[in-house]
């Protein structure tokens, strides 16, 4: 759903590296089928900008020569696209059956307690957000979480390893 945070008229600039990525993506499909590049382009924009604002999505639409609504309907359908700003580190914990059998809910509770924010909220320092997501295809190694934009995986989580991870991420952010 497009939220009020998206309705900003602040201009968005894409880096030359991002524009080069756009060209590479479009080259992968037959002539006239450049809309196929939409999903990878949105991933690339999000990796650079942190989220997808309306001006950013409009710019993608203009590049592909499609209507802006075609971008919005894709961005609102898939769960990986953030339509409002998130923390620098978005921790996504698998909350589906197999991971829950081995303690995923406890990990989510622990994250909520340690970070002091509810699911989907951002910590006051802007560093962390967290949410439960559906099956991450690592059911034998649960509980698991991933962190974008690289989507680094952390498996066989315990509350202790989550504490260690949070400490490492804070140190990384401060360096």
């Amino acid at each position: 759903m497009l939220r009020v945070e998206n309705i900003t008229h602040q201009p968005v600039e894409f880096s030359p590296a991002l524009m080069a990525q756009f060209a590479d993506f479009v080259s992968r499909y037959p002539e006239g089928k450049q809309k196929s590049a939409l999903l990878p382009m949105l991933h690339a924009v999000q990796a650079e900008q942190g989220w997808l604002s309306v001006p950013a999505m409009d710019k993608v639409a203009a590049y592909l020569g499609i209507e802006a609504i075609e971008v919005y309907e894709v961005a609102t359908f898939y769960t990986m696209y953030f339509l409002r700003p998130q923390g620098k580190f978005m921790l996504e914990v698998c909350r589906t059956g197999p991971c829950c059998l081995v303690g995923a809910e406890k990990i989510m509770d622990h994250l909520e307690q340690k970070l002091g924010v509810k699911e989907g909220e951002v910590t006051p320092d802007g560093l962390f957000s967290w949410r439960g997501v559906e099956c991450l295809a690592a059911c034998g190694f649960g509980p698991v979480l991933q962190i974008g934009p690289e989507y680094t995986f952390y498996e066989n989580l315990t509350t202790e390893s989550v504490d260690q991870l949070l400490g490492d991420l804070k140190a990384k952010a401060n360096n």
């Binding site: 990878p40 991933h43 359908f77 990986m80 059998l101 081995v102 099956c135 190694f141």
Partner: protein, 453 residues
């Protein structure tokens, strides 16, 4: 020890690189296919192998290939379905992570057989590390002359690209995947026309699972007849099983089809038994969408025979006393696990992942989730079980794609086999709720009763 065709070299250091993979005989099957076989002969070998689609449906792969329309002047496409997101299933991610060139080699063979000059591997977006691994492997294969123009001097051209998804389970359905690859929402298409006639960009297209495509490598290397000698009955070859839940040794195992379920769960060669000294309560054998079975029915059929891991063996008895091979996502539940809670968890998954296109699925999955939630939270009614079965029947078979069936089967089968546990939640609401205290995220310990029919 059973034969290993896909994971034979999985523990060789550096097997994810082209040079090591090649040193272990990698890409020999591509050379054989492109230099000594015609595309039709490759299809014929796959038909002879008896390979059945490893993504879940189990449709014969060679037959699927032979359905591909071949109109003059129209491009044909091969799309690999690497959108693995069926709860319990993680074999494709494992394979792509550790031995990516096996998939690349299979893609070249299959593309050649189908006449595809541009092929795509559609990987679920959450698997960014695997996307990077595959892109590196593609670059290595191209540098070695196995992709691009005039492969191995045979005149065959092939470009191979990786496409990331955006996070939607429904894109594992082949027509939804095609829609997504075209840059749209992943809404499944009405069939017919099938992708073999009108798929990607309206052109003839084959969509195959990662494991199916990887399996073409040993099939072409050794011949379809050799592959068909492995396994049991119409379940030929080997199968990757991703084992999770309360097992001592969860992980990805390659089995020869026909291994007894009891051996798979309890032997040290595979899962090593149930973790923490507990007893086995139930199993979901083929990913969350297949019917759950209690321990007695997963180990033995209703007739008392040892149940085996094969397409026919797992489905022995139909849905009354059997289940399905599905994707090979094997989830074991120990005696302490709550079936109601797990059923609610799966129902929430399908509600979350329904694309919303068909009313029975869009509304029904949410309805089931809510009823299961209230049962697990001490507000259930004795009539809820019949209500759930009724709703599941009204979803099943009434949707464009199989997600409706996938949502209905776990609920219906859980009530079929564990009705007394559901009833216990109604007669012992306080105890049912008390088990959830301490898990603040899991459920509101003091939920407000919901009024649902």
């Amino acid at each position: 020890m059973g034969r290993k065709l896909l994971l034979e070299h999985i523990n060789v250091p550096g097997i994810n690189t082209f040079d090591v993979y090649r040193s272990k005989g990698g890409y020999a099957a591509v050379e054989k296919a492109l230099k000594t076989l015609t595309p039709d002969e490759v299809v014929e070998e796959v038909k002879k192998s008896g390979l059945r689609g490893r993504g879940g449906a189990g449709f014969p792969t060679g037959m699927k290939w032979s359905f591909l329309a071949k109109p003059e002047g129209v491009p044909r496409y091969l799309v690999c379905n690497a959108d693995e997101s069926e709860p319990g299933t993680f074999k494709d991610r494992y394979l792509m992570t550790h031995i990516p060139h096996l998939l690349i080699e299979g893609m070249i063979i299959a593309s050649f057989a189908l006449g595809s000059k541009t092929s795509y591997i559609y990987v679920r977006g959450e698997m960014m590390p695997q996307i990077r691994i595959l892109e590196k492997a593609i670059a290595e294969a191209k540098a070695a002359g196995f992709l691009g123009k005039n492969i191995l001097g045979t005149g065959y051209d092939l470009e191979l690209y990786v496409q990331p998804g955006g996070g939607a389970y429904i894109c594992g359905e082949e027509t939804a995947l095609i829609e997504s690859l075209e840059g749209k929402r992943g809404n499944p298409r009405i069939k017919p026309p099938f992708p073999a006639i009108a798929g990607l960009y309206g052109c003839p297209t084959v969509v195959n699972n990662v494991e199916s495509i990887a399996a073409t490598v040993p099939i072409i290397r050794d011949g379809g007849d050799e592959y068909a000698k492995i396994g049991i009955g119409r379940s030929t070859g080997t199968k990757l099983i991703s084992a999770g839940g309360n097992l001592k040794r969860p992980g990805v195992y390659e089995i020869e089809l026909g291994v007894p379920v009891e051996e798979f769960i309890f032997s040290d060669e595979y899962c090593g038994g149930i973790a923490n000294g507990k007893r086995l309560k139930a199993v979901v054998a083929g990913g969350s969408s297949v019917p759950i079975l209690p321990a007695n029915l997963i180990l033995k059929t209703a007739a008392g025979d040892a149940r085996v891991m094969s397409y026919e063996g797992l489905s022995e008895g139909g849905f009354a006393t059997g289940t399905m091979m599905g994707s090979g996502g094997f989830i074991a539940f120990d005696e302490d696990q709550c079936i109601v809670r797990n059923t609610w968890n799966f129902a929430r998954f399908y509600h979350h992942e329904s694309c919303g296109q068909c009313s029975p699925c869009r509304e029904g999955t949410g309805w089931m989730e809510k009823v299961l939630h209230r049962l697990e939270n001490g507000h259930g009614k004795m009539s809820d079980m019949d209500l759930l079965v009724d709703v599941s029947k009204k979803i099943e078979g009434n949707t464009i794609c199989p997600l409706g069936d996938a949502a209905a089967w776990p609920v219906a089968s859980a009530i079929r086999h564990f009705r007394d546990e559901f009833e216990w939640h109604v007669t012992n609401p306080t105890e049912a709720v008390s088990r959830n205290f301490g898990l603040a995220h899991y459920a509101d310990p003091l939920p407000k009763p919901e009024v649902i029919a």
